[in-house]
Amino acid sequence: MKLLNATNRFYIIVALALLLVSSVFLVYRVVYVIDMQITEHMLFKKLQIEKQIASQPELQRRSFYISDLIRVDTISKFTTFKVQIKDTLMYGELEEAEIPYRVMTYEQEILGDAYRISISQRLTQNRDLVSGIAITFLLVAIDIIACFYFLNRYFSSTIWRPFYRALDTLKRFDLQRGGRVRFEPTEINEFNALNEELVKLTDKVSSDYRNLKEFTENMSHETQTPLAIIRSKLEILLQADNLSPEQLEQIRSTLDAINRLTKMNRGLIMLTRIDNEQFSDEEDIRFSELVQRRLVDLELFIQSRELHVETELNNELVVRMNPHLADILVSNLLSNAIKYNISGGRLEVSVFSDAISISNSGKALTFSDQKIFERFKRGDAVDSIGLGLAIVKRICDHYHYFLSYQYQDDLHRFYIQFTKERRNIT
């Protein structure tokens, strides 16, 4: 829910509740006041009738109607001294329906004679008033909601616009691609403060990221020369005639460690180089051909493990990307699928019209699926650095390809979707 909608919803609910309560109160209050006035009015009529009868002898000792609403009867003796007031329904000719009346009946002595007088008063004002009030309040409620709706749109498009712009800018902010976020100054202090902090934050993050990247790059490059020195010295040492088997073993294991370090270094350099966009030139790569070439390169290793290779190569898949990265992508996935395969296992390579899929037999992972593309994560029992898939992931991220991994029916499956829309794996 939008922030504005959330606050507005609250305001509207409160406003409507207040309207309802106040309209109920108003109705009761108005009805009460009118009631009082009607009764007063009737009492006033009572006095007038009394005066009228007393002053007009032709009215005395007779029964008559003063109007439809006032009836005077002479009675022989009093039955009650009370003034009875009751509300009742009577037929209204104007409305052609039963309408509420108030009837005041009392017995009174005027100039020694006894009279029963009943005064009726229409009560339709009440009903009209209540419905009037209800309609008015309904209109007010509609006005309020409409008003909030338009205010909302107005706020969204004016006052809150800088906020949504800032949000948009942040969404487009890509650490890997660097760049700085910039916001237009606004009239709202809070937004300006927010934007200022966002600029500071992203600048800091960018500069930290740059430094870290530079550090990794420098570190990887600068270690190469010392590594070269160590390796060369060890290889010279290895040529000595009088080495004991123990010494040979020491040199060999040191060389092994150097080899590992070298590979790690090269992998890290590769990762930083993809980050640094140093593979900008692009060509149209036909994946079916690329896959076939790499399968030939690896044929020896495939044969030695007696892998059953199944290929399904669609010639239509042509992707525009850096040829070196395409090569690394395919090589890394294929060698991964061979390295972690079991003897006599399956190797399935499929090139579809918009995706590739490489599957291999093997035991389930000893770690969670999500971690498979992490740096230095590798399966057991294989002598590997653990950067191959991290590089694959980085390449896919770089080109916004969708890379996924799945383990099903003893098959590890890597799937790359080259189009931007994602599709579920079938």
Partner: protein, 225 residues
């Protein structure tokens, strides 16, 4: 074979000098562009090993200076920057090959010799070691007068071994030479073993001597005695 080594890192410079001298190459050392250009004026070299990042300029400057006049010197770039751009730039302006630090000494030598062969005249292209003779680009080996056919990898391996006589060669270095990035495949050592076994058998069966010695736990050594 006369080699000029241009490298500003003293220790590495000495190592290369030591190793190359050990197999009978004659080395001259230079630690910057100025010294390198000096040496090139005074002498002719078969091959120059050239670092790109030098204190007083880039190794590319040396190549550009060399290209000013005709020369027969092979150029192998040694660079810490395993960048494709450097590689392409180097090869474009006249370098013959490119190795990335840290490299195996045996690999460096194989490259130097390969570059030298490419630069030399047609009749000197054959690689000869006692009764063995290999011709690059042809998958055959002569043992005396007999011609043996071999696979591409066996051929590559044989040239590599002959290029590095009397040196202990580690299995890692051999694997990397034969399979490059795929060398880390777990069974690559087994393939080296079977290739070597095949080669030995072919040579010995055809009356050649077994020059390939195993160095226990480490690798192999190609030696006459």
């Amino acid at each position: 074979m006369k080699i000029l080594i241009v490298e500003d890192e003293r220790d590495l410079l000495d190592s290369i000098d030591n190793y190359l001298s050990g197999i009978g190459m004659s080395c001259t050392k230079a630690i910057n562009v100025e010294q390198a250009l000096d040496c090139l004026v005074k002498e002719d070299f078969d091959c120059i090993l050239l670092d790109i990042g030098l204190p007083d300029g880039s190794g590319f400057n040396v190549i550009e200076a060399m290209q000013q006049k005709e020369h027969k010197t092979g150029i192998v770039i040694i660079s810490a920057r395993n960048s494709l751009d450097d590689r392409l730039t180097g090869l474009n302006i006249g370098a013959d090959d490119y190795v990335t630090k840290p490299f195996h000494m045996s690999e460096l030598i194989a490259r130097i010799k390969s570059v030298a062969r490419r630069r030399s005249s047609q009749d000197r292209k054959a690689i000869v070691f006692h009764e063995l003779k290999l011709i690059p680009d042809e998958m055959v080996m002569y043992v005396g007068e007999k011609m043996l056919t071999m696979t591409k990898k066996e051929h590559e391996l044989m040239i590599y071994l002959i290029s590095n006589p009397n040196r202990v060669l580690t299995r890692e270095a051999i694997a990397e030479h034969l399979w490059g990035d795929h060398a880390e495949m777990a069974d690559s050592f087994d393939f080296i073993y079977s290739h070597i076994k095949n080669l030995r058998k072919k040579i010995v069966d055809n009356g050649g001597k077994d020059y390939i010695k195993s160095v226990y736990g480490v690798g192999y050594k190609f030696a006459a005695e």
